[in-house]
């Protein structure tokens, strides 16, 4: 029986998969493992820093310096630059914070923070006029973006500032998205908790109404509701909130059922606690986290829904800017002025992406049913 002492060996990289491993040691796989070993950090930094710098330089070049270039060349430069910057920053971040650092998640959170802060403090920013058309009569409409001018992202057909538009548009999108989610969540969670806890006829009735609401084609329900309510920020919020209620009822109910049979609830019952107390004190704290973490994703969906409504012409109306109505207004000029579609479109995309990203992470941590998977 041969016995040998373990020797210090460098592990060969091979994430074991069921596939044949012909790709052992490919760049992506290798760098991850490398990152775990301190001595690889410098190599990571050596690759990451220049890539990030080059990427940012490319973006700046495309966005600011090359004002004469064709839009497509500039856009692809900006795109390539952003990609390079991401890869570079990812490497640097992994070197600094450790290999398990989720750069994408932090960037998503950073974007949300940026968009939320700038929307919240938009009034303090040195932006050109974004809404009051009477003040832009002297402004040339349809200015092309020039990052160094007072209209960094150009102007629209009314001479309104596009940068101001997307920032104030973020305000509408976020207020509507978050507002509707919170409203729908509170309503749906309350109903779902009671239904899931009491069961019986209440549960059956709630289930029936929920089923009926879900059977309604959502966008059509929305169109009809908006037609009834007239388009405004408040009414759009209400309509979207109503739309999310049945989903929240289902989610909360399912989570409530999960917890209602747990010992601590049974114990509280045995101790003679009142239903209200059990629901509020015992069930609610347990149900709230999964419901809220799902809410982050719902915000994203509702931001899209609001934009879709604006796109169909029945959402919040100009001159109040929203991403949806900015895209809709520029749609017919897509060919000549693609940036008017791409800028609000990119904001919409990034925000929804970031919300999904953060929401998924939140759910992975907080939703017990999600964790089971």
């Amino acid at each position: 029986m041969a016995v040998s002492e373990p020797t210090e060996t460098k592990p060969v990289v091979q994430p074991a998969t069921i596939g044949a491993d012909v790709a052992a040691g490919t760049a992506a796989g290798a760098s991850d493992i490398d990152a775990m070993l301190p001595r690889r950090r410098s190599r990571l930094l050596r690759f990451g820093v220049p890539t990030a710098v080059a990427g940012i330089a490319l973006v700046v070049l495309g966005a600011v310096v090359m004002t004469e270039g064709t839009t497509w060349v500039r856009l692809s430069m900006i795109g390539a630059g952003l990609l390079a910057a991401y890869i570079g920053i990812d490497r640097v971040a992994k070197a600094v914070f450790g290999a398990t650092f989720d750069t994408g998640l932090w960037m998503a959170a950073g974007w949300l923070a940026l968009i939320t802060l700038s929307a919240a403090f938009a009034d303090l920013l040195p932006l050109s006029e974004h809404e009051d058309v009477s003040k832009t009569l002297t402004v040339t409409p349809m200015l092309t973006p020039d990052l160094l001018s007072s209209h960094p992202l150009g102007t629209d057909s009314q001479g309104l500032d596009v940068l101001g538009g997307v920032i104030y548009g973020a305000r509408v999108s976020l207020v509507v998205g978050v507002g509707a989610t919170v409203l729908g969540m509170v309503l749906g969670a309350a109903i779902g908790l009671v239904a899931g806890y009491l069961r019986g006829i209440v549960d059956a009735a709630v289930g029936l109404v929920g089923d009926a609401m879900l059977a309604f084609p959502p966008l059509i329900l929305l169109l009809a509701m908006v037609a009834v309510l007239e388009p405004s920020i408040f009414n759009t919020t209400i309509a979207l909130a109503i739309l999310t209620v049945p989903t929240y009822i289902r989610l909360t109910r399912a989570n409530t059922l999960l917890f209602a049979q747990r010992e601590f609830v049974l114990a509280a019952k045995a101790l003679g606690a009142k239903n209200r107390r059990i629901i509020v004190r015992e069930l609610l704290p347990n149900v709230v986290l999964p419901v809220v973490s799902y809410g982050v994703i719902v915000v994203g969906a509702l931001v899209v829904a609001e934009a879709s409504l604006s796109f169909l012409g029945v959402g919040v109306q100009r001159p109040t800017p929203t991403w949806g109505n900015m895209i809709a207004a520029a749609q017919s000029r897509f060919e000549s002025d693609p940036h008017l579609v791409f800028i609000p479109g990119a904001c919409l995309f990034l925000t929804v992406y970031a919300l999904n990203r953060v929401g998924e992470s939140a759910r992975a941590v907080w939703d017990p049913r999600q964790r089971e998977l």
């Binding site: 058309v133 109306q317 000029r333």
Partner: protein, 529 residues
């Protein structure tokens, strides 16, 4: 038969000059167009099919239901019924086609219509004076809700002289009476088919018209397919199948579909897309509606009932600015009633825009107790919204406050036209060169059918009566000058530009003819190889 053929060819060459005005309204390239092949359909060119995009679907195929403008059903019914006479933009004349002639008496109060012998309906019935009389009477029946209902009431009596002769007796002198017979009222329906089909006539009028096509398939909301008659009284019909579709989402998708080759003809409205089409070199027909873009002011109620407020608005609204912001600078801005390129143009000028004066007038109006606020109902389309924003911008720059009330198109019509519950609104008043009186009187004549502002002015009514009776172009120009003068003084509405309609046509399609309201006649059209 031979005579008819000749008549059609005459029309074709006459109107052919309007063919393919690719860039702007110049008609210099008519020769060039004629070089590309025969002017009209011949036996040798029979075959093929064409699709056309319209603005909105035809609400029906019965002329008393159809609104009869090129963008919303006019072309479809013209292919089915043709018109007794056609309007030729270039010569500013009416040309008889289905009719043999249409002649007035000295003061244009009696019009004698003579029909051709050979004209028959799709079911073989001959076209008789009695049929024309019955058909015209359907427009005069209020239950039928014809768009020409009020105009057709100008005819007080119709005398059937013989099988082929009908005399129209009018209540007053109307020099441009043929304009009525060049549109819906001139599309003759076969009374026996109407009776036989009953309610279905609106969707299945087979055999009921004298036009070159019959309905093959009508799927409302989707498409209308027409099939050429193989034994049409007027000779061979070349394009065998015509397909009309409505492209949702406005004219840009329609034009995209045209450039993509989905469709061969498209009705375009809106300066930007038309400018794009012309830049792209797409051939087509252009029709300019004078004062197609106007802002109607409520004369009965609200702040705009005050002349001071109206003057302030007139001074504040600069057509150039609305053009810049609403139409990307591609429109035909003018505050005058008649477009510069119109045959009727004679140096008319509308109210002048002056921002300082506007601010001054607002100040004065406010001094009388007005709070300076105006509500602005607005259709919830991007195009309408842009115009409303330009209006709001200028009004607010003059010191007013404006709240835009967005609403669905139907609600907008309800608010402005039906309920008249508005202060000011963008409301089109397109005046055709053929007879500006017809719509002008409806819009600003006392108790006019489309007089949403409730405007009433004796001088204006007198000027309109003179316009109606004006026998020739010069007389009409003179009458219009009087109208403009009263207009500038009393401001029934504010014009901010002419509206252009453009029917883009694929290069392969030749021999099309055009009439008023951007309607296209397909009878002489053919598809070149």
């Amino acid at each position: 038969m031979k005579r008819t053929r000749k008549a059609r060819l005459t029309i074709a060459t006459l109107v052919g000059g309007l063919l393919l005005t690719a860039c702007g309204s110049s008609s210099d390239d008519s020769e060039e167009a004629a070089d590309n092949g025969p002017a009209a359909c011949t036996e040798a060119n029979i075959g093929g099919e064409a699709s056309m995009a319209t603005l909105s679907q035809a609400p029906g195929l019965d002329p008393v239901v159809n609104p009869g403008t090129g963008g919303s059903g006019g072309n479809e019914v013209i292919a089915l019924y043709d018109t007794l006479v056609r309007y030729d933009q270039k010569s500013d004349e009416f040309v008889p086609v289905v009719a043999k002639s249409l002649e007035p008496n000295a003061d244009s109060t009696e019009w004698t219509l003579k029909l051709r012998e050979e004209v028959t309906f799709g079911n073989g019935d001959p076209l008789t004076a009695q049929q024309v009389r019955d058909s015209f009477a359907r427009h005069q029946d209020p239950d039928n809700r014809s768009v020409d209902y009020l105009a057709s009431l100008a005819v007080t009596e119709m005398d059937v002289v013989d099988d082929l002769t009908l005399v129209f007796h009018l209540d007053e002198s109307w020099a441009r009476f043929p304009t009525l017979l060049a549109n819906m009222a001139g599309m003759i329906t076969n009374s026996s088919v109407v009776e036989q089909q009953g309610e279905n006539f609106n969707t299945a009028p087979t055999g009921g018209g004298v036009g070159p096509y019959e309905v093959e398939k009508f799927t409302p909301g989707e498409e209308l397919v027409l099939k050429a008659k193989d034994d049409w009284w007027g000779g061979p019909v070349c394009i065998q199948t015509l397909r009309f579709v409505t492209v949702a989402g406005g004219v840009q998708p329609a034009y995209d579909a045209f450039t993509n080759g989905d469709i061969q003809l498209a009705f375009l409205r809106g300066p930007e897309v038309i400018a794009q089409a012309k830049e792209d070199g797409a051939a087509g027909f252009s029709t300019v509606d004078n004062a197609g873009y106007t802002i109607v002011l409520n004369h009965e109620n609200g702040p705009t009932a005050e002349p001071l407020v109206r003057q302030a608005l007139a001074a504040a609204m600069d057509p150039e600015v609305i053009n810049e912001r609403g139409y990307g600078g591609k429109g035909r801005p003018s505050s005058a009633l008649i477009d510069k390129d119109s045959v009727l143009y004679d140096g008319l000028e509308g109210p002048k825009a002056d921002a300082t004066e506007a601010a001054d007038l607002v100040k004065q109006a406010k001094a009388t107790g007005w709070d300076g606020h105006l509500d602005l109902p607005c259709q919830n389309s991007v195009e309408a919204n842009n115009v409303c924003l330009a209006m709001k911008a200028q009004a607010e720059a003059a010191g007013m406050t404006v709240k835009i009330e967005p609403m669905a198109p139907n609600d907008f019509i309800t608010k402005v036209h039906v309920d008249r519950d508005f202060e000011w609104a963008a409301w089109s008043m397109p005046l055709s060169d053929a007879d500006p009186w017809l719509r002008l009187s409806a819009a600003v004549g006392t108790d006019g059918a489309r007089n949403a502002g409730g405007y009433s002015n004796a001088e204006m009514d007198a000027a309109l009566t003179a316009l109606r009776a004006a026998p020739d172009t010069a007389a009409r120009q003179g009458a219009l000058a009087d109208v403009q003068e009263v207009w500038n003084e009393t401001l029934p509405a504010l014009a901010y530009g002419a509206n252009e309609n453009y029917v883009v046509v694929d290069d392969s399609i030749k021999g099309l003819q055009e009439s008023q309201y951007s309607q296209v006649y397909f009878d002489t059209a053919y598809i070149a190889d």
